[in-house]
Every structure is written in structure tokens, then in C-alpha cells.
């Protein structure tokens, strides 16, 4: 059975003598309860929360870029495995990528902040892709359930259209179909 290209061996170092937690690359970490972060996300402005998420994502994307010799030529599977590994280490949930027609959709299951941390995760995805493959991406929220989120990877203009359609009552499936100028018969694929 093939295994993931993401190797988490000793990715997190607990230095109990010094009272510190650090990643293998050297960055220090704080272990915070998810409830505390959720409360903070609910109290803070959405833009600030998104910027916070983007900062976290950029650090993750930089590590991905460092591990992949040629991130620009990486396959979808490699990027998914690396991003999912980073997200798992941070306790943000399990990431996968779906393709609906031409549209790429990031899905995160088991996200502990799904109730209040949508902007945090959206910013995380945007920052990670910016740092790893050098693309300015808008992670437009499509769906939010109790423990899962879906984001459309699109440009800023398309994100605004999708947001407007969904505010007008369209489902995210219809919005994706409309974005591609077709009826809602696109066939989804998932990695």
C-alpha cells in the first residue's frame, strides 16, 4: 500500500526541561484549547481572524515548499498530502481536495472550530497556497457543517459572485455550476 509523502517523524519537539514546544524547523508553538481559540474567533473581527489564519498558513506553506524540491511541478496528490499533514499537526482536521468540473474545492473534516473558525481556516488555506505554490487564491466558503468546511479555490471576482449567489439562496452546487456556465450536472472527484 502506498504511503503519504508527508513524514511527521519528530515533527513536534517537546522540550520539557525548557518548557517549550517547537516544530522541527525551529518555530515555537503554543498549545491552546480549541474552545479558547473558538471563543477568540467569535469575539474578533472576521478580517483579523482571516489574517491570523493566513499567518499560520504561510508558515505551513513555507515548510511544504521546503520539503518539496519543486513545488511548482508537484502533483495534486503531493500537495494534498503535504497540506493535509501540516493541518493535521496543528489539530485543524483532515484535508482533502475535490474537483467539481474545473473548480477545485478544499474540504476539511474534523475541524474543531467549525462553528466559529471559518475565517481562520479560510485564511490558513490562502496563506498556505500563497507560500507553497505562489498563487494568490481566494478560499471562498461554500459549506459549513458541525465539523466540516468546504472552500472554493478561485479568484477574488469569482469568490464575490459565488458569495452573492449563495446569499440570494442558491446552493453551493448551483453556484459552482453557474460559475462554470452550466447546469448542476458537474461530476465531482476527490483526492
Amino acid at each position: 500500500m502506498d504511503t503519504s509523502t508527508f513524514d511527521p517523524t519528530r515533527a513536534v519537539v517537546f522540550d520539557l526541561a525548557r518548557g517549550q514546544v517547537a516544530l522541527e524547523s525551529g518555530g515555537s508553538l503554543l498549545l491552546l484549547p480549541a474552545e479558547v481559540v473558538a471563543t477568540a474567533c467569535a469575539q474578533l473581527d472576521a478580517t483579523i481572524v482571516r489574517q491570523l489564519g493566513a499567518a499560520l498558513g504561510k508558515q505551513a506553506g513555507a515548510r511544504v515548499r521546503k520539503r518539496l524540491a519543486q513545488a511548482g511541478a508537484a502533483s495534486l496528490e503531493q500537495i494534498v498530502e503535504q497540506l493535509a499533514g501540516e493541518l493535521s499537526l496543528g489539530g485543524f482536521g483532515s484535508l482533502s481536495v475535490e474537483r467539481w468540473g474545473q473548480a477545485l474545492v478544499v474540504r476539511v473534516d474534523g475541524y474543531p472550530l467549525a462553528g466559529h473558525g471559518q475565517e481562520l481556516l479560510g485564511g490558513y488555506v490562502e496563506g498556505a497556497l500563497s507560500a507553497s505554490v505562489e498563487r494568490e487564491v481566494t478560499a471562498q466558503p461554500l459549506e459549513r457543517t458541525a465539523q466540516s468546511l468546504r472552500f472554493l479555490l478561485c479568484n477574488r471576482s469569482a469568490g464575490a459572485k459565488v458569495k452573492a449567489w449563495m446569499l440570494a439562496g442558491s446552493s453551493w452546487g448551483d453556484a459552482l455550476a453557474a460559475l462554470q456556465g452550466a447546469k448542476n450536472d458537474v461530476v465531482g472527484g476527490r483526492v
Binding site: G72, L104, V133, K161
Partner: protein
Amino acid sequence: MAASRSMLEALLARVQKRANESRAVSQVMPPLEAASADSAETLPPPRAALRDEVVEEEIEEYDDELIEIIDDADVIPQAAAAARAIEPAAFGAAFDRRPTIASIKPVAAAPRAATFPAGTSAVGTSPAATSAVATPAAVSAARLQVARAAPALEGLRAETVSPRPIAATEIARAQGSRGELRATSFLELLDASLKLGS
């Protein structure tokens, strides 16, 4: 309908004679109830079944003749008196022609059995019928009902229409398998997604 006295007398004599013959036959043959009361599921012997049919036909024939006689009773009172004296019970038939309450149950079960697929036994689908034949009189009535219902069930044969074989054709067209999607360049896919809506 008017009938002459000589014709009626001849008819009455014929009926009385055949009634006496039937009584004699019933005395020679064992009672039907005794032959069938052992088990409700045991089929009647061929001879007894044949006798049932003969007696049934005779009774129906006599009924028609008696009805005609009774219809003329206002014209010939003595003919009516003679006709009343000849009751079906006088034939010595060992069963009740009119179904009892218990014997009605198998009648109700017969059409229901016709709704089951072929091969389903009507006996197996009607526990009520089994309990209804606990008495000898009910056994006799049930036999009559089964004999009458059998032709009707034969007529209820299911006609099945099955789809003809479908020729192999390409129903859905897929653009690349999952394995190919995994190996596709991420930037290629991301750029295609970023072009949407612009």
C-alpha cells in the same frame, strides 16, 4: 307454466325413484365425515370425491324440477305437497350443501391465494382455512369450495414482461480516472480553477 297432471305425476315418480337410489348408495358407502376427519390435510379418496360430484349434480337437477313444481303449486296443491315432502335431506346426502359459518373462511381464503406468485400453495397461505376444517361438516364444505375454486386459480396465471437485453454502450463518459487526477499537476488544476468567473 302450466303442466298436465300426468306429466307432473311422472316427474314426481322419477324424482322419488332417484332419491331412493341415492339413499341406498349412501347407506352402502362409508360416511364421508368418517373418511376425512382423520386429517384436515388428507385429500378425499377419489371414490368419495366422485360421489360428491354425482350427488351435487343430482341435487341441482332436482332443485330445478322442484322449483318448477312449487311454482305451479297454486294450480295443483297436491303437487306442491308432494314436492315439499321431497327435501334434499331425504336423499341421504352426508353433507350440508349450504356452507356453515366455519366453511365460509376457506372461501374467503381462495381469492387471496390467487394474488401470490405461482408456486405458492393456497393451503400454506391460509392458516384460517386449516382451523376451519376442524369439524367434519366444514371439511366437506371446504372440499366443495376447493373443487370450485381450482378452475378459477388456473385462470389466474401471471404474465411477466421482462426487459430485453440491453446492448453494451457507453452510458457515461469520464474525463480521466481518479488515479490520473492524483498525478495531475496541482498548479495546472489550480490555474484552471482560478480562471473561473473571470
